[in-house]
Amino acid sequence: MGRLLDISQVTAGYGSITVLRNISIGVDAGECIGLFGPNGHGKTTLLQTISGLLRPAGGRISFEGTDITGARPRDIVNAGLIQSPQGNTLFGDMHVLETLELASISRRARRGRDENLRRVFDLFPQLGERRSQKAKTLSGGERQMLSIGCALMCSPRLLMLDEPTLGLSPRLKKELAGAVGNIARSGVPLVIVEQDVEFLLSLTQRLYMIEHGEVIREIDRANAPDHDSIMKLYFGEAVH
């Protein structure tokens, strides 16, 4: 009891292909955790399963003590469990402001709409400048900001970010990391999927290493090995 998000023994996949095997993960209130591991080993699948885009074949997911296994995405969003998906193109032909306003469509988020909007524009001033531009005209970094902004418009009680820095330049990465740090400090618990270990280590208290759809190692701040050894563990020598 008491965990904010509790995933226990979840199995999921696409059609006949099983991607997640009896995976168990937990997030406590006020905590930021990271998911880490090679590509194609189930991190995104896990987030999709949590968000209700995929129905798990087995196991149980609960959020704030409520069972949300197999719930509709819309109900999960209403509960405040929000995901900002990976490689985002959002809604290409919609304006920035339109998109953000639409993102507060859920009953709970509608109440905090104006306040959330102010918060998003504070966090990402660039979005404010581009508020009447179509999403497809934005740069990669701005799209990522818009995506995270949308998630914030949903009044998240837990925010899951799927590779927010994917494909960004080091400078933008740093900028975005700053913003994500701000979100974490504002008290929103985070689940972050990232390849960039440094980025993860700087933001999270705990890391789950996922390989072949299973958690193969859990790393606390306390027992964290240093950066280089993590890299060696998962990517061999060739990185760097």
Partner: protein, 328 residues
């Protein structure tokens, strides 16, 4: 290895049965139904070559048939060529028509293939309608010469000759399809259907494949068209209509299309089933509704037959489990 029973014995036994049918069905009505069913079987199974085996959603397959119809009609009636040759010529012109439409089809995907092939069919129909002095326009051509073999005339024999000719056509078409599907080319079709990117990476030219498959699927369809014109002694533009198209499509779908035989069986079954319904007064419209419902039900609950091919249409997108993002 499949058991011999399904791949050889069953088809052969069916063939023997069909060879014996005229002994028992002595009236020309039953034989006529078989002839029409054989022709639909040729259309449907050849359609399946492009649709099921290659994943090209060709909505203009009946156009090839119509081209065959008019080729045979014009050659035999207007020019006076021997009807046997006119029938075979139907296959040649249909293949030519397929070649023409194949160029855009090879370049397009998804719904655009449906639309461009549909438009092509409409275009050919408009052409036929507008060239009334050659094609007879809306009313078509009648009194097309009938078949003779030596001094044996194919009329007034209670359709015995036509029965065997149509059966021969079906057997030839089926052997042709089996040969295509089992050839290296047929296997490369499967590769493309199942993994377009992979096939492309292995140097298989997808557009050349699509062109080839459309042309191959048109040959016997066109010959069937030629036979249709010579047999019924009529060529009329309704062969391009939606009615024939949806009937043939339902045969492909209901038959289930993993095999060459599926659409053939469905063509036979549906021809007799709808004809049985046609005999009930007051239910004339209802039979079309029954076919449409059957199509929906098969699509929904018989994944073995139909969803098999559907699964294999339009391959190449890896993000399969995502909710329909099927546009491109």
């Amino acid at each position: 290895m499949r058991p011999a029973a399904t791949s050889i014995i069953l088809p052969l036994a069916s063939l023997v049965l069909l060879l014996l049918v005229p002994l028992f069905a002595t009236d020309s009505y039953t034989r006529h139904l078989f002839i029409i069913a054989f022709l639909y079987a040729v259309i449907a199974s050849n359609w399946n070559l492009s649709l099921g085996h290659c994943g090209v959603f060709n909505f203009g397959h009946l156009t090839f048939f119509g081209v065959g119809v008019y080729t045979a009609a014009i050659l035999s009636k207007t020019i006076g060529i021997n009807p046997w040759i006119a029938i075979v010529a139907g296959g040649a012109t249909a293949a030519l028509a397929a070649f023409v439409i194949a160029a855009p089809v090879a370049r397009l995907k998804g719904i655009y293939v449906v639309l461009v092939t549909f438009a092509f069919g409409q275009l050919v129909m408009q052409l036929v309608l507008s060239q009334a002095q050659i094609t007879g326009g809306a009313e078509g051509m009648v009194r097309i010469p009938y078949l003779r073999l030596g001094d044996y005339s194919f009329i007034k024999d209670y359709k015995l000759g036509y029965y065997y000719a149509a059966l021969f056509l079906l057997v030839a078409s089926t052997l042709f399809l089996l040969a295509v599907v089992r050839s290296p080319f047929g296997k490369s079709l499967k590769a493309v259907r199942d993994a377009e990117d992979y096939a492309a990476a292995r140097g298989i030219s997808i557009s050349r494949q699509r062109i080839t498959v459309l042309v191959l699927s048109a040959i016997f369809t066109g010959i069937a068209g030629g036979f249709y014109a010579i047999y019924l002694r009529v060529a009329s533009p309704d062969v391009f209509g939606f009615g024939t198209l949806s009937l043939a499509l339902s045969m492909v779908l209901i038959g289930g299309t993993g095999t060459v035989y599926g659409p053939i069986v469905a063509a036979l079954a549906l021809t007799f089933a709808t004809e049985a319904l046609a005999g009930i007064r007051g239910l004339e419209e209802a039979r079309f509704i029954v076919i449409a419902l059957a199509m929906i039900v098969v699509l929904r609950i018989a994944p073995g037959g139909l969803l098999g091919i559907i699964e294999k249409l339009n391959i190449g997108e890896r993000k399969t489990a995502e909710p329909a993002d099927a546009r491109n």
